[in-house]
Every structure is written in structure tokens, then in C-alpha cells.
Amino acid sequence: MVLSVRDLAVTRGGLAILEGVSFDVPPGEALVLRGPNGVGKTTLLRSVAGLQPAEVGQVTGAEDEIAYSGHSDGLKAMLSVTENLRFWASVFGLSDIAPALAAFDLEGLRDRMAGTLSAGQKRRLGLARLMVTGRPVWVLDEPTVSLDTASVALFAQAVRTHLGQGGSALMATHIDLGLAEAHVLDLTPYKAGPRSRQMDEAFL
């Protein structure tokens, strides 16, 4: 299933920030979104994930296909690493969490409470969650925040494996993951001009 975005416009706080965004992410490929702070990477990803309805344009191939990972990891401090992962696995109807633990080097931490993990460890656990969703399209917002070099390498490897299995990934990140399959899309040209369609247009 190809994730396909056509002529998408996104708004934040009633202001159009991006417009005319179109791209495809076919299986086996990754697309990295670039652009300065505030250009609308997070808003765009949330639109693709279906959390925010798109005012203009279409997103196809996302419904029930994507695994979303935002700025927060959605971890419960009072649950252990395995309990957190197991929960998400069963929400998505899966049960095997061992590959996810292995891929992100979490086996040594499996019985630790998530609340006692360091920021980087939490992030690894948050990313490991993607592997227990069984969803083919990963939509990732700044996945490498608080990761050290070794962990970034683990993450790049996990993405590579995922792409190799026919999955795809759409992510906003500034770090070069060294992925041969990754294309880069700079969002700056899509920035909405002051004359573009505003949500509050009727009031102007």
C-alpha cells in the first residue's frame, strides 16, 4: 500500500502554514521531511496520522496502516518495559515483543519500571513500540531526540529492516541516518503565503 499525500494544506491555530504538499511513500522506501522550526512538520505528520483532519487535500493509504510516534512516547512510568510493550502489542493484536526488545537493546532493562529509565532509554522503548504494532507505514516525528550515536545506529538499523520487509517510513528528522533508501523532502517551498486560504478567511 502506497502512502500518498495529494495537495495537502495544513493549518495551525487557524493559520495556513503549508499548502500544496504532495508526495508518495511506496513500500520499501523512506521519506525524510526537512525544514526549519515551525514550518509545520509536526502538524503535517499529525494530519497524515489522521489526528488532525485535513482542510484541503487527501491522504490515502494511511488509515489503519500507520504507526505514529510523536514527541511523547506514551509510556507509563509505573509499568515495566515489557508491560509497556506488551500492552501496545495487544492493542494492535500482536503478542511477540522479543524482536522489538532485541532491536533496541532493551533486554537488559526488560523488568525496569519505565519511570526509572533515562530519556534516551525511554525513547528507545518508544521506538520499539513501532515494531509491535505490525503496521507497515511508520510516521515518526523527530525519532532521534535524546538518542546517542549508538542508539541512532540501532534505530537506523531497525528502519532498514522494516523497509526490507516491505514497510515504509515517513519521518521528520535532522540527523542523517545513512539510509540509502531515504529520500529527502524539504518543506520550505510549500510554506503557505499570506494570501493563501485561511481558516479564518471569512473574517478578513
Binding site: L51, S69, M78
Partner: protein, 218 residues
């Protein structure tokens, strides 16, 4: 869905989960009432059914902001919204978890606290029955209030303002069952109305809560 319910129950029991807080609050309210109105047994036993209902309602209210706010803060709600669970299912499970961790203990504690208030003997069963029927409605309505205010910092007070008027019909019929039971009158009419409200609310309100939650997640 079952996984979500089990997770919420487990979280409630673990340290910091707030399990039992509502119960302690219920106890304190019941203890404070005699200080406020005087220790006279006749008066206490007359107002006991109402006090138990008010106490249970307030204890319920106190714990509402935990239903969704914690999942909102740590980002779980975003992730749940993109998971293969319908939003209506999520809010229903949240309400059920709230009822099991707050409503049910209140129901079980009510007869014990009734002793403190010299609750008349025939009233015990009706207090318990009315709470069993009424507290699910309190949890479901409360989930709606929690969904409305989930994105707000310090939304707790606002939520009380929104939820308490919605609690009025449940409280009236629930307390009426308990009061009529205490006076040995027939309780059938308010009992049926209370059950009707609970069932209607459980059937319909999750749709409103889900709609509200979707709006708040945007």
C-alpha cells in the same frame, strides 16, 4: 480493548495510581458531616442516605481528572487514537476502568460508612442497590466531562462546574431510592428511572465523549 482495561486497572493499583483516594475521601466526608450537623442520631439517620449519595458523588468527581489527563500528558491518547480501537471504545473502557477503581469500592464502602451515620436498617440494601445502579452513570458522565477539559491546564475546577449539573438527575433518583428505602416506602418508580438514566447514558454518552476527545486531540 481488554488490554486497555487491564492496563488501566493495573496502573490504578500501582503506587501513584490513586486507587483508594476516592475511598478515603468518601470516608472523610462521612466523618465530617456529623461535625457539621451535630451528633444527634435521629437527625443523622434521617439524612444518612442523602449524605452517602453526596459523598459518593463527590468522591467520584474527585477522581475524574485522572481518567484521561494522564494519558493525555504522556502522549498515550495520541497513540491510542491511531491504534485500531474506535474512540467510542476507548472512552467506554476508560469509564469502565474508572467505575471499577472508584465506583465499585464506593458501593462496597457505603454500608460500612452507613453504620457511622446510623443508617436505618431497611435502607442498607437500597443504598447499595441505588449506588450499584447509579455510579456507572456517574463514571460515564464524568468521562464526558474529562474529555471536554482534557486539553486544559487546571481544568479540574471547570470540569466540576460542567459535570455537577449533569449529575443532578442521577443524584435525585439515586438518593430518592435510598430515602424511600429508608422510610420503608415503595422504591420501584425511582429505581426504574435511575436504571433508565444509567442505561441511556451508557448507551449514548460515549459517542459524545468520543467526538469531544477527537476535537481535543486535533
Amino acid at each position: 480493548m481488554r488490554a486497555l482495561l487491564l492496563r488501566d486497572l493495573r496502573l490504578a493499583i500501582r503506587a501513584g495510581g490513586g486507587f483508594g483516594l476516592g475511598l478515603a475521601f468518601f470516608l472523610i466526608v462521612t466523618v465530617l458531616v456529623p461535625f457539621g450537623v451535630g451528633p444527634e442520631t435521629a437527625l443523622l439517620s434521617r439524612i444518612a442516605p442523602g449524605i452517602l449519595w453526596i459523598g459518593a458523588l463527590l468522591a467520584c468527581l474527585l477522581s475524574l481528572d485522572r481518567i484521561l489527563a494522564l494519558d493525555w500528558e504522556d502522549g498515550s491518547l495520541d497513540l491510542l487514537a491511531t491504534a485500531p480501537l474506535p474512540m467510542e471504545g476507548i472512552v467506554t473502557v476508560k469509564a469502565i476502568a474508572h467505575w471499577i477503581t472508584t465506583g465499585l469500592p464506593l458501593v462496597l464502602a457505603a454500608p460500612v460508612l452507613g453504620v457511622l451515620l446510623s443508617l436505618p436498617v431497611p435502607a442498607y440494601q437500597w443504598v447499595v442497590i441505588s449506588l450499584v445502579l447509579g455510579t456507572p452513570a456517574l463514571s460515564v458522565i464524568g468521562t464526558f466531562g474529562a474529555a471536554l477539559t482534557v486539553g486544559l491546564k487546571r481544568g479540574g475546577l471547570l470540569m466540576s462546574l460542567l459535570v455537577l449539573p449533569l449529575y443532578v438527575p442521577t443524584l435525585i433518583f439515586g438518593a430518592e431510592v435510598a430515602r424511600r428505602g429508608a422510610e420503608g416506602l415503595t422504591v420501584q418508580t425511582p429505581l426504574l428511572l435511575l436504571a433508565g438514566i444509567s442505561l441511556g447514558v451508557i448507551a449514548l454518552l460515549p459517542f459524545a465523549s468520543a467526538a469531544v476527545l477527537r476535537i481535543n486531540l486535533r
